[in-house]
Amino acid sequence: MPRHTFILNGRRVHVECPGDVRLLWVLRDLLGIHGPKYGCGLDVCKACTSHINGKAFNPCSVPVSQIRPSDEITTIEGLAGSVGKALHPMQEAWIEHDVAQCGYCQPGQIMAAVALVKEAKAAGRDVSDAELDTLRNICRCGTYARIREAVKSAAAQM
């Protein structure tokens, strides 16, 4: 059985499984990391959004064999730790704006929002409404309007 290793939320992990198993199942079924949610397995709903080396991606669509030993995977569980705080500013903004309803999509929403803001900041601009329009994450509770408010206010703190 192939053996895979990478850094998950700051800790090195090892896992044995066929290389074509998508990272989402490695995280959820084999490593017990449940923050990234299954919503489609098609890279459409974005509920599993996590970070690889600081960039947002969807582990449902990445075979574990593509993950290198040096890759740093951050899930919602490791987001606050990645900035050395109890809560990331995006999580604080989420609480402040009472964004969540059922909460199922929210880990993915937060992870996508953090990457969007970082991307905008790296380009030296604020997140615009047009950029918020590009977020593809589905929220069936319809929390979108509060997500937009929270992202904007978190951006000011990041």
Partner: protein
């Protein structure tokens, strides 16, 4: 459980009728604007303070007017009365660590009832909100009709029982304090969880929890706080699980680690409700990596079925499903398509009554296509069925029925089936049925192993429960300055109500031949209405097909989004025909002051009538349900630059640019949670009016992912969404979970009609346009996950 004493306990009130248990409550002197009433409850024998409440139903209204039944008695009344007889069985528990816990006999799927119930308890007991712990109760069959989450009824039915239990617990803490520290209980007060007596002596809730325990249960009388004494009720409070959610710690069914419960999925048939007959490559699939079990699961009334695969990971289940070579039997809707169902709906339409003599009429039939009832969390459940026992975990809106039906399915005594209700990732009515729980149990029984069953997203769209396709014929008659009659003939594929009132007996009634019709007619008559003074009104429902031909369920607000959209479009038309502005027309005809208030508020805040460019417009609609009133004003942009926006694999179309949604929910418990519900309802309304549906072709739906079924996405979210919660208008909370949908859907439809100068007659508006996606194949039934995710990283 509670041992009731009929003598020797505290007796309530002075009214002999009260002592005989005939009344719910008696009025007591009080200067508050809401009269304080006394209630009967129980102190229950337990190691710490445990209090329950008892409420007896008032007799039902004797006469129900036939023209608009909801005026006197609506679904909210029915569900609350059904819950009342067992309300003494729900208890507030004070724990030795100073926390207060409540095992909520309802399902939380994001609607915010855990937060709202915690507020009721904290407010009545005067303890801090963050010391109240709300868990979801396992199925408790003794609750009968009091563990159904539906009809937007939770807060209405729990409002008084929960506060009675909390008030009794509070009183007992005061008694315990007086026993501990001396002086009469009346000298003690609780503030923020600290009990203080004369001379400033204090004790904590933790110190008193065990001291307040009673050794035998007894009835007690209690007065509830008046509305002027509320500290938390009516104030905006954030969700009690917000921290868990944003840190990824909130536990849903698929996050549970149950020993031996390996990932399990089902290879499903190519058409709706087909059955697996044979597996041609069983041995090959059994040998695939990670696969432990493969089994045919027959399709039944309760189990969707197909070929179940259990494996080490869900990814390996998907691989196995795609490899399976299965002989399929026919489904239940073979050959049916949108057009054939529409023809059958037309044939089943009930005739209109003759129009009033001499009146002019406007008449229009509207079509509402099938649309998904999908939450983001797909159908899922964990089941462990062993010899003589079974245990199931799932997000269930009708857990008692699930338990009783499972007992029947598995030939076990009800007491040998444990049903745990997990937090749900959305429900919207889908989990009134227990599809995943039943299927997981069937698979676990067949494999003799615990299973963690999850439906694929494509399964959820193609085999899951949907909002039924319907037509709504409306005719409005007017003469001079008056509307003199309104008739509506709603014709629908049957909505499945065979879960009954959430337990087995009422479910079985619904499952009898034509039994479901009894429920659907009742539900229709207790919910639909025309909120205008339009003279004689008839609104009639006819349904086609028995439940089980299509998999349907109540989907958020059931009939009313469609009924209201049809009504409001024709209202705009008659207003125009009579030469009136849509807002002024509605003002002139609304039936009550509460409706007028929300309508005026929406028009004022939304600046009704402001000048707008060609191709853009405002729309206005109102709705009355769940003891509440709502009005919605939207603005829509239908100009080419907006409509023709290009989003990869997404549908754009017209964009709603502003939503003002005003809600009068009677007594709002948590305005912040209410706002969230309304915003979400508006996102549904936008989707249902413009984009969100399923295309039925040859016995199956074409949609298989969220890039096919166009629920509202960020690129179609309005720049401005404003929800206004009206100050309390009554002393009881109305329903909130579904209230945002109908007025917003109708307002979007009206705005679209005004912006484009057309009358849209089928919904969603884009449904009849060419498909914007290439449908996934039906064999294999699920697409493979992509492998290029790293290229998409940003």
């Amino acid at each position: 459980m509670s041992k009731r004493t009929t003598s020797g306990g505290m007796r309530a009130g002075e009214d002999p009728a009260q002592l005989a248990g005939a009344g719910e409550a008696v009025g007591a002197a009080g200067g508050d604007h809401v009269t304080r009433r006394r209630f009967i409850g129980y102190l229950i024998a337990a190691p710490t303070v445990v209090a329950g409440s008892q409420l007896l139903a008032e007799p039902a209204m004797a006469a129900i007017p036939t023209h608009q039944p909801v005026d006197n008695y609506d679904l909210t009344d029915m569900l609350t009365e059904a819950a009342m007889p067992t309300s003494q069985l729900i208890t507030v528990v004070v724990n030795r660590d100073g926390t207060v816990s409540f095992d909520l006999p309802r399902s939380e799927n994001g609607q915010g009832i855990t937060t709202a119930v915690a507020m009721l308890i904290a407010d009545e007991m005067d303890v801090p909100l963050d010391t109240v712990r709300i868990t979801l109760a396992d199925a408790r069959p003794e609750l009968v009709w009091n563990q159904l989450t539906g009809g937007s009824n939770s807060m209405h039915s729990l409002f008084t029982p929960v506060r009675v239990a909390a008030a009794i617990a509070r009183g007992q803490l005061l008694s315990a304090a007086s026993a501990l520290l001396g002086g009469p209980p009346s000298q003690y007060t609780i503030h923020d969880g600290v009990i203080t007596g004369a001379g400033g002596r204090t004790a904590s809730v933790a110190e008193l929890a065990a001291r307040g325990a009673v050794s035998s249960s007894r009835r007690v009388a209690v007065a509830l706080k008046s509305s002027s004494q509320f500290r938390l009720i009516g104030t905006p409070q954030r969700r009690i699980d917000a921290h868990e959610i944003v840190t990824g710690q909130k536990v849903f069914a698929m996050d549970l680690e149950i020993r031996g419960a390996l990932p399990t999925m089902v290879c499903r048939p190519p058409t709706i409700n087909g059955s697996a007959r044979a597996i041609r490559n069983l041995q090959t699939v059994r040998r695939m990596p990670g696969v432990t079990d493969v089994a045919i699961i027959p399709h039944t009334r309760f189990v969707a079925g197909g070929v179940a695969v259990r494996a080490r990971t869900f990814g390996q289940c998907i691989d196995a499903i795609r490899a399976l070579d299965v002989t399929w039997g026919p489904g239940t809707a073979e050959g049916k398509s949108d057009a054939s169902v529409l023809a059958e709906l037309h044939a089943a339409e009930l005739p209109l009554t003759p129009a009033p003599v001499g009146a002019k009429t406007l008449q229009q039939r509207f079509t509402f296509y099938f649309r998904p009832g999908d939450p983001l969390e797909t159908n899922c459940a964990i089941a462990d069925v062993g010899a003589g026992r079974a245990e199931v975990w799932s997000a269930l809106q009708s857990p008692i029925w699930a338990q009783e039906q499972l007992a029947q399915m598995l030939a076990l005594p009800v007491g040998s089936v444990k049903v745990h209700v997990t937090q749900g990732g959305g429900a919207f009515g889908r989990h009134l049925f227990s599809d995943a729980a039943f299927e997981a149990a069937a698979i676990s029984k067949a494999m003799r192993k615990p299973v963690k069953l999850m439906w694929h997203r494509t399964d959820n769209f193609r085999q899951g429960r949907v909002h039924p396709m319907a037509t709504s014929l409306v005719r409005i008659a007017y003469s001079g300055a008056n509307v003199v009659g309104f008739d509506q003939r709603h014709t629908s594929v049957a909505t499945d109500f065979t879960h009954g009132l959430g337990e087995l007996i009422s479910a079985m009634l619904g499952s009898q031949p034509h039994g479901d019709l009894g429920y659907s007619q009742t539900y229709f008559n207790l919910t639909v209405n025309v909120p205008y003074n339009f003279g004689p009104v008839t609104q009639l429902l006819n349904e086609i097909y028995e439940p089980g031909v299509f998999n349907t369920s109540s989907v958020r607000n059931v009939y009313n989004p469609d009924v209201t959209t049809a009504t409001e479009l024709i209202v705009d038309r008659v207003a125009k025909a009579m030469g009136h502005d849509p807002y002024k027309f509605r003002r002139a005809f609304v039936r009550d002051a509460r409706m007028l208030a929300v309508l005026d508020k929406a028009a004022k805040v939304g600046r009704w009538g402001r000048p707008m460019p060609a191709g853009t417009a405002q729309g206005l609609a109102i709705h009355n349900e769940y003891k509440g009133r709502s009005a919605c004003l939207v603005e829509i942009d239908c100009r080419p630059a907006v409509v023709n926006r290009v989003v990869r694999d997404g549908y754009t179309g017209p964009r709603v640019t502003k939503v003002v949604l005003v809600v009068d929910a009677g007594l709002p418990i948590n305005p912040l949670g209410l706002e969230a519900q309304m915003m979400g309802g508006a996102m549904d309304g936008i989707a249902q009016a413009l984009t969100y549906s399923l295309h039925l072709r040859d016995g199956h739906y074409l949609e298989g992912s969220w890039d096919n079924a166009y629920y509202t996405r960020e690129w179609n979210v309005p720049a401005k969404v404003e929800v206004i919660v009206m100050p309390p208008t009554t002393s009881q909370p109305g329903g909130a979970g579904e209230m945002g949908v109908p007025a917003s859907m109708a307002a979007v439809a009206c705005a679209y009609a005004r912006a484009t100068g057309t009358l849209p007659t089928s919904f969603p508006i884009n449904h009849d346009r060419p498909l914007g996606f290439t449908p996934y194949p039906t064999v294999p039934p699920v697409p493979q996950s992509p492998t290029n995710g790293l290229k998409e990283a940003f």
